[in-house]
C-alpha cells in the first residue's frame, strides 16, 4: 500500500496494519457458496514487499523453453538415429543444436557479469540447482553440439578426416545427449522451486512434471514441424504424451495451490496461462486427429505445442515474480503455519 492520495490519510495509523482482505473463492464464479477459508488479515511494513523480486529477466523463461526443447529434440534425435528415420534424425538433431545455442545465449546474457560465466564451473554444489544445471549442460552441450554439427557438414567436406570422425562420433554423442536430456528438462523446475519465491516454492511437488511434459510437447512438436509425416510418428506420440502430461500436471498444480493461486489466475499471468492451456490443448487434439494425415495439420499442431510450452514457462516465471511483490504472499501463509504449530504445541 503506497502512501495514500486521499486527504487526511496519515502515515497510516498503525501503518503495519493493512485492511482485511478476504480470500477469493476457488473454482468458478457464481457458485454462491461462502469461502471456506478464513479472511486473510495481515500486517506488513507499510505494505512494502518482504522479498526481493527475482533479478532474472524473461530471458530465463526463454532459456527454460529452449532447454526443454533441446532436451525433447535430443531424445527424438537419438531414437530416430537408432530406428532408421533419417529425416527425423536430422531435423531433431539440428533443432537440438539450435535450441542449445539459444539456451546458452539466454543464460549467459542474463548474468550481471556475463564475462564471468565460466565461474559457474568453479564448484559442483548439490544444494544449488544452478550448479547442478551447469554440469548437466556441460555434459549435454558438447554431446548435442557434436550430434548437431555432424548434420551440418557440407557434402563436399564429408570425405575429409575431421568430417568422418565427426560422423562416427555422432551416434555416441547423440546417445549421450539423450541420456542427459531428462536431467536437463527437469532440473529447471528445481531451479525455480529451490528459492524463497512463494509462487515457485509452493508448487515444488508438481512443477517438475509440468516442465518435462512441456519439454516433450515442444520437442515432439518440433519433430512434427520439421520432419515428414511418414517419419514423424514417434514425435507425434512423444508430443501427445508430453502435452497431456503438461495439461494434467498443470491442473493438479493449480488445484493444490494456496494463496498463490491469485497470482497465477489473475491479470496478465492469468491470461498467459489460459493461452498456454488453450494452445497446448489445441496442439494435442491436432496431433491426435490431423498430424498423422496431413503435414499442414502437423505443422499447425507443432506450432501450437511450441507456443503452449513457451507460454507455460513465461507464465510460471511471471507468476513467481508477482508473488514477491506483495507481502501478503509471504506473511499470510507463514502466519498460518505459525498458528498451526502453536495450536499443536502452545507457546511456552
Amino acid at each position: 500500500m503506497s502512501p495514500s492520495d486521499r486527504p487526511g490519510d496519515a502515515v497510516p495509523a498503525d501503518p503495519s496494519h493493512v485492511s482485511v482482505r478476504s480470500r477469493r473463492r476457488r473454482g468458478g464464479a457464481g457458485r454462491g457458496e461462502e469461502s471456506m477459508v478464513p479472511e486473510a488479515e495481515f500486517r506488513s511494513y507499510y505494505g512494502r514487499p518482504v522479498l526481493k523480486p527475482p533479478v532474472w529477466e524473461h530471458k530465463i523463461a526463454y532459456y527454460m523453453f529452449a532447454g526443454g526443447l533441446a532436451a525433447g529434440t535430443a531424445v527424438l534425435g537419438a531414437g530416430a538415429d537408432l530406428t532408421n528415420r533419417p529425416a527425423l534424425r536430422r531435423a531433431t538433431r539440428l533443432g537440438s543444436l539450435g535450441a542449445l545455442v539459444a539456451s546458452i545465449y539466454y543464460l549467459v546474457s542474463d548474468l550481471g557479469r556475463p564475462e564471468r560465466f565460466h565461474h559457474m564451473l568453479r564448484v559442483a554444489k548439490p544444494t544449488s540447482p544452478m550448479s547442478v544445471g551447469t554440469w548437466v549442460l556441460a555434459a549435454f552441450g558438447p554431446a548435442a553440439g557434436l550430434a548437431g554439427a555432424a548434420e551440418i557438414v557440407p557434402d563436399r567436406l564429408r570425405a575429409l578426416w575431421p568430417a568422418r570422425l565427426l560422423t562416427r562420433l555422432a551416434r555416441p554423442a547423440s546417445l549421450a545427449a539423450a541420456a542427459t536430456a531428462p536431467a536437463l528438462c527437469s532440473y529447471t523446475a528445481v531451479l525455480l522451486s529451490h528459492t524463497a519465491v512463494p509462487g515457485w516454492n509452493e508448487v515444488r511437488g508438481e512443477l517438475p512434471f509440468v516442465f518435462v511434459g512441456s519439454a516433450a510437447a515442444s520437442g515432439g512438436g518440433f519433430g512434427m514441424i520439421a520432419a515428414p509425416v511418414a517419419e514423424a510418428g514417434p514425435a507425434r506420440t512423444f508430443a501427445a504424451v508430453g502435452a497431456a502430461g503438461e495439461l494434467l500436471a498443470g491442473r493438479v498444480m493449480e488445484h493444490r495451490m494456496g494463496l498463490i493461486k491469485e497470482a497465477y489466475e489473475h491479470g496478465h499471468v492469468g491470461r498467459l496461462r489460459k493461452a498456454s492451456e488453450a494452445a497446448t490443448l489445441a496442439g494435442l487434439l491436432g496431433t491426435l486427429v490431423t498430424a498423422r494425415r496431413s503435414r499442414v495439420g502437423a505443422v499447425a499442431s507443432g506450432l501450437a505445442l511450441l507456443a503452449g510450452s513457451l507460454l507455460q514457462r513465461v507464465s510460471v516465471f511471471e507468476a513467481g515474480v508477482e508473488t514477491t511483490k506483495d507481502p501478503r504472499y509471504v506473511v499470510v501463509p507463514q502466519r498460518e503455519r505459525l498458528a498451526q504449530r502453536e495450536n499443536r504445541s502452545p507457546a511456552r
Binding site: 486527504p7 487526511g8 490519510d9 496519515a10
Partner: protein, 217 residues
C-alpha cells in the same frame, strides 16, 4: 491561551524591532490573528546539522533526509485538504515555504481555552545548495531577539498551511501582500511588549501605521 498567573504575557524585555521590512504575525487578541491559525514549531532532525549547508552536501546524510517536510495531524490534513507526501506551503507574514506533507498522529491537535489548536512541525535544515535542496524555513520568522545574547526567535510562530506548491517570483510577492493585507499587518503589529500598555516598539522614523512594502494602507 492566556497565562493565568501573570498579567504580563510574554517576556517584557525581549527585543522587538518595529520596522516596515520586519513584519510579525499578529499576537493573540490582535487584529488579524485568525489569518494564521496554526502553531508552527521547528527543530532538528538527526541526519542534518543546523542550517544544513554542510550536511546537505554529504551523500550519506542527504539520502537519509532528502526533502523538507511539514508534519501535520490527520485532522488538520482533512481540514486543509492536505495529502500525505503531497506538496504544501506554510505561510506567515514574512514568507511562504514549500514542503512535502507528512501526515502523522505524532502531531496531536491541542484543546486550549475551549477550542482546537492545530500544531505543525518542520525541520529547518534546507537551503538552496547541496545534493538536496529546499526552502529556508527560518525565512518564516521575524526578527525578535532575546534580551541576553540577542538570539533570534526561530522556533515557534503562528502560520497558515495551504495545499499545493507555493507561488514563485512575482506571484509569491503577491501572495504575501495579500496575506499581510488580510491580517492588517503594519510595522506596529505585535510590537507591544508590555501587556495592557499598547505602546508599539518602533525603530526611529517608523510610523505605527507603516505597512510592509507593497501593502496599501
Amino acid at each position: 491561551m492566556r497565562n493565568p498567573l501573570y498579567r504580563q504575557q510574554g517576556n517584557p524585555t525581549r527585543k522587538v524591532f518595529g520596522r516596515k521590512d520586519n513584519p510579525s504575525n499578529p499576537a493573540a487578541g490582535e487584529r488579524g490573528f485568525e489569518v494564521f491559525p496554526y502553531v508552527l514549531t521547528t527543530s532538528r532532525l538527526t541526519e542534518h546539522h543546523t542550517a544544513g549547508a554542510m550536511s546537505r552536501m554529504l551523500p550519506f546524510l542527504a539520502e537519509l533526509q532528502p526533502a523538507l517536510f511539514v508534519e501535520v495531524s490527520p485532522a488538520l490534513a482533512r481540514e486543509r485538504g492536505l495529502t500525505h507526501m503531497g506538496e504544501a506551503h506554510v505561510v506567515t507574514s514574512r514568507a511562504a515555504v514549500q514542503a512535502r506533507v507528512m501526515v502523522t498522529e505524532r502531531m496531536a491537535p491541542l484543546r486550549l481555552d475551549g477550542r482546537t489548536v492545530h500544531q505543525v512541525w518542520m525541520p529547518y535544515h534546507w537551503g538552496g545548495t547541496g545534493l538536496v535542496t529546499g526552502d529556508v524555513v527560518n525565512d518564516l520568522f521575524g526578527v525578535v531577539e532575546d534580551p541576553n545574547v540577542f538570539i533570534q526567535e526561530t522556533k515557534v510562530t503562528t502560520c497558515d498551511v495551504r495545499p499545493g506548491p507555493r507561488p514563485r517570483g512575482a506571484a509569491l510577492t503577491a501572495l504575501l501582500e495579500e496575506v499581510r493585507a488580510l491580517a492588517g499587518i503594519t510595522a506596529a503589529t505585535n510590537t507591544d511588549v508590555y501587556t495592557g500598555h499598547p505602546v508599539p516598539h518602533l525603530d526611529p522614523e517608523v510610523r505605527p501605521d507603516d505597512t510592509a512594502p507593497g501593502v496599501p494602507r
